[in-house]
Structures are given as C-alpha cells and as structure tokens.
C-alpha cells in the first residue's frame, strides 16, 4: 500500500470515529429530556412495567388532561402556579433590566475609582446561596407580612438578577462604539437623547437577551421560592412540581407532564436568546 492511500484510509477512519463521538455526545445530551417527554405521553402501566417496555404501545394525553382538570381529579392547580410564575417572573425581569441598564451603562461608559472592586462587590451579592439568603428573608418577610405574596418574591428575584443583568448589559454597551454617541452629542443631542436614540437601539438585542436570561432565572428558581411561598396564591411552578410527590410515592407521569409544561417556554426563549447571550458574556474577553 503506498503512502497516499494509507493516509486517505487513516483520514476516513478518523472521520468515522469523529462522527460516532459527536453522535454519542449529542445523544447523551438530549436523551434525558426526550425521555421525560416520552414518559409524559405513556400510560403509567408502561412506565412501571417490568421488564421495561421500550417502544410505547399507545400515546395518550391523559396526564395533561388530568393536570388541568383541577384539584381532586388527580390534578394540581397548575393554572394558578403558571399565573404566579408568569407574574413574578415578568415583573421582576422588567425591574431588574431597568436597574441593570443604569448600572451596566455606568460600568461601560464611565471611569471611576474602585471600578473593579465595585463590580466584584455587586457580583459577590449573587454568590450568596439562595437557601442561606432564604433564612433571614423568611424571618423578615414574616415580620413585614409579605411572606407568601407576589411582592415578596418579586423583590427577592430583582436582587437575584441585578448583578447578572449588569454584567451582561455592561458587555453589550461596550460593543457599541463610544464615538457614535459622541457624534450625536456634537450634532446637538443631549446625553440623554444620545443614549435613547443611538446607544439603546444598538444594544437593544443584547438587552433583550439579558431580559430573557433574567426571566429564565426567575422561572426556574426553587430554593428561595420553596421557602418564601406556601399557598396556591403565590407558589410558582418549580415549587408546584413537588405536589406530585407524596410521602412514599411519586406520580412520575404527572410530574413529567408538568416538566414539559415548564420546559416549553424556557426552550423557546433560550433558543431565541442564545446568540446574543454568548456575545454579551464574552465581550471584553479579547481585544476588539
């Protein structure tokens, strides 16, 4: 065998190995999620079957129907949970982004003393584990009478999101050249006008993705929500998931169905946001 064809063979082999590797990696990533979707659509008998039934014999939407049919019929108050999740997540996202825009702009456009320690200080507030923060908040909220309310949860989530929205939005404003706003000011805009008419539209997509990211954080948060809410009037979806567990039994199918309901908004939003998110986090990591 001459050198040429052996090199070609080696290359083809490597190509095959590469494809198998890629396929296995993607399978590992996707399988757990797909399994949940599949399980939510199968009858409980099949989930519990021994030996396992690999290929579903029948597909039914019973779990979803049961979930929405209300308490007492095997359902949980999923519509209320969904509403609570939505109210809390949207409100706290809007507030966190507004605060984050002000802060991010300050970091991107001004020089001031102790800038990086202020930045680090803001970030450090984010490191406080939710469960550790929940202890004093729980105590304070009980005293202030805002335990188990939307307001209390919104307040906590705003604080949870502000450090990260500042980081992201700072990155997006850095990508907008300074000269543009300066040019607008020379042409007679005030700084305020220059911001809203030049810099804000340019950083817009990035800010939108910071908003989605904040929304997802609230949507998925559990440690704080599980301690600061307790009734149908404020419980969010992640806490509601626990309604399917009893002392010794778990309604796997119902849980899977609720998981799918939770994941669909998250899936859609993450897909929209992915490109900008990476850009915002990494800007300033390399020159340019």
């Amino acid at each position: 065998m001459d050198e040429n064809s052996s090199a070609r063979l080696k290359r083809r082999l490597l190509g095959i190995v590469y494809r198998i590797g890629l396929f296995l990696a993607m399978l590992t990533i996707c399988l757990p999620g797909l399994w949940i979707v599949l399980s939510s659509l199968r009858p409980t008998v099949e989930i519990m079957a021994k030996p396992p039934v690999w290929i579903p014999q029948e597909i039914s939407f019973d779990a979803y129907v049961a979930m929405f049919s209300g308490i007492g019929k095997g359902g949980i108050p999923v519509i209320e949970y969904f509403r609570n999740s939505l109210i809390v997540s949207v409100t706290s996202t809007v507030i966190a982004v507004a605060i984050g825009m002000a802060g991010g702009y300050a970091f991107a456009r001004y020089r001031f003393g102790g800038k990086s320690s202020v930045f680090l200080g803001l970030m450090l507030t984010r490191t406080v584990p939710g469960i550790a923060l929940s202890l004093p908040l729980f105590f304070l909220y009980v005293r202030l009478g805002i335990i188990d309310t939307h307001f209390g949860l919104i307040l906590a989530y705003v604080a949870l999101n502000v450090p990260f929205t500042i980081w992201l939005i700072d990155g997006f404003f850095r990508q907008v050249p300074k000269d543009l706003a300066e040019a607008a000011q020379i042409d007679g805009c005030t700084r305020w006008q220059a911001f809203w008419q030049v810099e804000f539209p340019l950083a817009g997509p990035g800010i939108a993705s910071a908003a989605i990211f904040a929304f997802l954080t609230c949507w998925n948060e559990f440690a704080l929500a599980s301690q600061l809410t307790r009734s149908v009037s404020a419980k969010t979806l992640p806490v509601g998931l626990l309604d399917y567990t009893a002392e010794f039994t778990i309604d796997w199918r119902g849980m899977c169905a609720l998981a799918v309901v939770m994941i669909i908004p998250a899936l859609t939003l993450t897909y929209i946001v992915q490109k900008h998110l990476v850009g915002g986090l990494t800007s300033g990591a390399v020159k340019g």
């Binding site: 002000a102 490191t127 939710g130 998925n220 559990f222 990494t282 020159k287």
Partner: protein, 298 residues
C-alpha cells in the same frame, strides 16, 4: 461652598446598590446577628439572647457538618473540573463540524434550559432502581442482572448526583469555549503548523491559552451560582440515604426549617456563603489574569 453634586456613575449605580442592600446585605447582617443567638422559630424570645460564638463552636465540633462541608467541596471540585474538560471536548467536536453547526449548537445548549429542580427530578427518575432508564438499559443489555441501587447506596448516590450536576452545567462551558474557538484568529494556528508543531503542541500552546479566558468566564458564572446543586440534591436524595449525600446547603435547610434552629442554621449558612465567595473570587482573579495574558482590555 458648592452643593454636593453626585457624579453620574454614582447615580446610575444607586438603584442597584439600594436593591442589593435591602434584599441581600441587610438580611445578611440580620442573619449574622442571629447566628450569635440560640434563636428558634418556635421561641421568638430567644432572638434577644446573646450567646457569642457558641453556635460556631458547636458547628466546628460537629462531624456531620464537616462531612457535609467536605462533600460539598468535593462535589464542586469534581463537577467543575469535569464540566470544564467535557465542555472543552464538546466545543471542539462541534467546532470541527462542517455542516449543521447551528443545529448542533442548539442541541448542545439543551441542558441549559432545564431548571435545576427539573434536572434533579429527571435524574431521580432515570436512576430509579426499579423503573429507571439506567437500570432498565443495563439489565436489557445484560451488563448486570440485579438492579443497581443508585440512589439508595451512599457512594452511588453521590455519583448519580455528580452526573446530574455535570449534565446540567457542561453546556455553559461548551457554549462559551465554543465562542472563544470561533473568535480565534486562524493565522497563529497556521503559523504554528508551518513551523512544524504537532497537532498536540498547536493545541497546547496556541489554542488553549486563547480559549482559557472564555473558560474562566464560564467558571466565574458557574461559581456565582454553585448553590444551585441544592435543588438537584434536594429532589434526588434530600441528603439521604442516612445523610450520605448531605451537602452544606441541604444541611442548612434541614437545620433551619425542619429543626427550626435558625441561629445554628445561620451560622452554618455563613460557612456556605464564605465558600461561595472563595470560589468566585478565585475564578474572578484567574479571569483577570488570563485576560491580561492575551492583552485584552478590562
């Protein structure tokens, strides 16, 4: 005398500082105070009894606490390192793909969309010894005949939790490292090849230093939120079996809400806060160093 005129960045940062002070700093000061009292939820009057460092001393001599502490550090070390390695591997696999990169990138981010609590539940389901996917697959393939007690035996439960944690967070590393690989100029790699570097040398001395800042960004982001493992553990084992997977955070939650010993729990919480801060500051410094190394402005 001129009136005090605050600077623009001060005013712009004020709302953020106010919110964080109100929701994070003040409550933390309160919890710092109560960590010096024998405060119990059931006995409000104990809030005003000052006992000095008694809670801290009893924690320091509590072996359950030290086990939980060590386990937490071990989990974070294993998880962060493996996530970094797997993320790097995954990013390089995807970067190599000539077709369908968009699809691959979206698939790669799939786990990021799962709330930690969902991850916990999903892996609890998969590792269930009786009906779980993992045991079913192993038994069907004939690898083992008996059901492996994944979440019932201490060491196996720890492994299962680590797998869940790694599955959920590798995506963050992969996506950020991929961003680094895509932003990397091609000339240095070509120059290295022309100079006769082996592929390994090219990777080690050209690609890796360039990608490291991106990896540290991912590390910093992760370390900001390491405690999300609480959600996973809470669902998968809730610290069991017999406390063998108890992490610092589940221990804090149990002491506070099940036992009602708030003062003690707050003292423990301070250890967990310090741990998180240590991780963040460490990676933040690494990030700054890596940025300077490749000459980026900060």
């Amino acid at each position: 005398m001129k009136g005090f005129k605050p600077s623009a960045p001060f005013l712009l940062l004020l709302p953020a500082v106010i919110v964080l002070a109100a929701v994070v700093v003040v409550p933390l000061l309160l919890s710092l105070y109560s960590s010096f009292t024998p405060f119990r939820l059931t006995k409000p009057e104990t809030f005003f009894v000052f006992v000095g460092f008694r809670n801290y001393l009893s924690i320091l001599s509590n072996s359950d606490f030290w086990w939980a502490f060590g386990r937490t550090v071990l989990l974070l070390t294993i998880a962060l390192n493996l996530e970094m390695l797997l993320g790097l591997g995954l990013a390089m696999l995807v970067e190599k793909a000539t077709r369908g990169q968009r699809i691959l990138r979206t698939l790669m981010m799939f786990p990021m969309m799962f709330s930690p609590i969902l991850v916990g539940f999903q892996f609890k389901f998969m590792f269930n010894d009786n009906i779980g996917l993992v045991n079913n697959a192993l038994q069907s393939l004939g690898i083992t005949r008996d059901a492996i007690p994944w979440l019932i035996e201490g060491h196996l439960a720890f492994i299962a939790i680590s797998i869940a944690e790694i599955w959920s967070s590798t995506a963050i590393f992969a996506i950020l490292i991929l961003a680094g690989l895509l932003a990397m100029p091609k000339e240095p790699i070509e120059a290295a090849r022309v100079d006769g570097c082996t592929p390994w040398q090219t990777f080690r001395y050209v690609t890796l230093p360039f990608v490291m800042p991106f990896a540290y960004i991912a590390m910093t982001i992760r370390s900001l939120d390491v405690a999300r493992a609480y959600d996973i553990v809470k669902i998968m084992t809730d610290g069991g079996p017999a406390g063998r997977t108890e992490l610092l955070w589940t221990l804090v939650a149990r002491t506070a809400y099940s036992d009602g010993r708030m003062g003690m729990a707050n003292a423990m919480a301070y250890f967990s806060i310090l741990l998180s801060i240590a991780f963040t500051v460490y990676f933040f410094n690494k990030l700054a160093a890596a940025r300077t190394q490749i000459g980026a402005e900060w």
